[in-house]
Subunit: 338 residues, 2 copies
């Protein structure tokens, strides 16, 4: 194993979407371990829309990353050295590892995982935060009932494609909104959803009327903007709008627009509720067990978009904001890269 | 009793706030009663912000009033003639009477009321729809807990002043937002609320930081716009935003703006929920009993703004949208006017 490690640091504030100039790569030796620490060699690093928020000074649920710090991020890796009774060399662990090839952590800062249950990449996707977000957001907040119509934006994304499949499992009519023919083909053919709308080529309002003829009961939204406004005009009474993100509004933090049609919440006695996974971390095992079982039964498939090499990180962040990823975007850390 | 009756008809669509040109007064004889009908002489007519929605073709919870029809509105009046077994001459009744001095109704279309319990004007205000709206919106959706901070917009309005007083009764810190020194004086001195913000002369963001030092747990909103955006930036985790109206957005239906800061719902796991009284009509008696008891005990006072004569109606509608009413705006129908 190389003794040199690479890290991606946040070194330049970005007004809008982060660019290649936002980041600086640094190298150095692996620090020596203190008692209770472990050294971890990363296998996969997660690339998330939330990263924009993490490097923004705007009030949020978590402290922003400071200039010069290693970029915050989820990773999964293998223990290469341990001074913790709880970890053996060869164990796998996950958590906020930061964007790096290797790191040294207090063993309590990460969570040990059983790498024999599923490919470890799924811990960044369907069996990790995106999957849990889909699970609790849809089931706990959206509360879909059999026969109801569930609309999902960013439907081919990391969270969305899991939401769509859980909603199908629960007996709902599922309408997926995504951008571009390849994503729409995947949603229609591979996932077998009831209706798919390509927001890039279709008029959302008209398409929704056809795709959701009985109105919309649950909306799982990671996009905001025009799609949210269009959905609001077609929600049913007592509809639940689950607000998980607003990727259309992440570009310029000073020019954000809210849903102009939010007054439909009044007319339809509807609810718009936001959440983050911190509300549900204490129930993560429940989501993990169900998602693993559904995945093994073939009912919920995890779509992963894997780039190779940590040097892809700046480009990967841009892909997420341009919607160029198909499924959960992650980086496979090349075994011998430093 | 005069045999001639007056009605206000909706005869010209209004782009923004209704003007004097929106309405036409008509006169005519009182129709003859059929079996099951009653003739009612109005005492009070309610003037409501919802009227803008009722004459708008935009999708809503209720069919719009058609051009030429008598304007929809709540009234309370006295039965002057009855061909219904359920009503005696001299009984009082309330409901969607329309804006008129007298009318003939199917007896089942209105609700009989006991005029001995409280002044009948209160059936248009604190013991009617505005009071019930305050009661269920705050208690059922806002769910304020003792010690929490409740912020109320349009706080001196028909619904708002009742919300403020119920929230005080429940042991909350109550922050009232209103426009102009006279309303603010009323809220501070007459109602004894914890803090009052004059949105016309104060910077809302700065004033809220001082008025709600522990953040905002419940927001009861009838205004929208900048006030909603300011509150969103200061909500606590799991805050509840009760959306009862958006009077700032009623002017030009094509230029409505939503809350740009709605993404705070995600960061704070907060809920924004709309409602109308139709969700709660089956529980109206519960609200009536509590509000009457609180009013008789002096804990919840009803503030009524009474104009005299149905000819005031066009001006009254404009007053509501300019925020010129103090408390519940209503028209007292002069006994001998036709």
């Amino acid at each position: 194993m190389s003794n040199t490690i690479s890290q991606v640091r946040f070194t330049k504030a970005a007004e809008g979407i982060p660019t290649v100039d936002t980041w600086t790569f640094t190298q150095g030796p692996l620090p020596e371990l203190k008692d209770g620490e472990i050294a971890v060699k990363m296998h996969y690093l997660s690339v998330d829309p939330a990263m924009k928020g993490w490097i923004s000074a705007k009030r949020s649920y978590i402290e922003p990353v400071q200039l010069g710090e290693i970029m915050r991020g989820f990773g999964v890796g293998e223990v290469t050295e341990s001074r913790s009774d709880y970890y053996q060399v060869g164990d796998f662990c996950t958590g906020f590892t930061g964007i790096c090839t290797h790191g040294v952590y207090n063993s309590r800062a990460l969570r040990k995982v059983d790498a024999s249950l599923a490919p470890v990449s799924s811990l960044m996707g369907g069996l990790g935060m995106p999957g849990f977000t889909a699970y609790f957001g849809l089931l706990d907040i959206g509360k879909p009932q059999e026969g109801e119509t569930v609309v999902v934006s960013s439907a081919a994304g990391a969270v969305g494609h899991v939401v769509c499949q859980i909603a199908k499992l629960k007996g709902c009519r599922v309408v997926a909104i995504a951008g571009g023919p390849e994503k729409c083909r995947y949603l229609k053919e591979d996932l077998g959803l009831d209706a798919v709308i390509d927001y890039r080529s279709e008029d959302i309002n008209a398409a929704l009327k056809i795709a959701a003829p009985d109105g919309i009961d649950v909306f799982f939204d990671g996009v905001g903007g025009e799609i949210l406004d269009a959905v609001l005009m077609q929600v049913n009474r007592h509809a639940r709008l689950v607000i998980c993100g607003a990727i259309s509004q992440y570009g310029d933090m000073d020019k954000q627009v809210g849903p102009a049609n939010y007054m439909q919440l009044i007319a339809q006695s509807a609810t718009m509720q936001g959440f983050t996974m911190r509300d549900y971390m204490h129930r993560a095992k429940e989501a993990f067990a169900d998602l693993l079982a559904w995945n093994m039964a073939g009912n919920v498939k995890f779509n992963e978009h894997i780039l190779e090499g940590i040097e892809q990180f700046p480009e990967a962040v841009q892909m997420v904001f341009k919607g160029e990823n198909h499924g959960k975007l992650m980086i496979k850390v090349i075994s011998d890269e430093a």
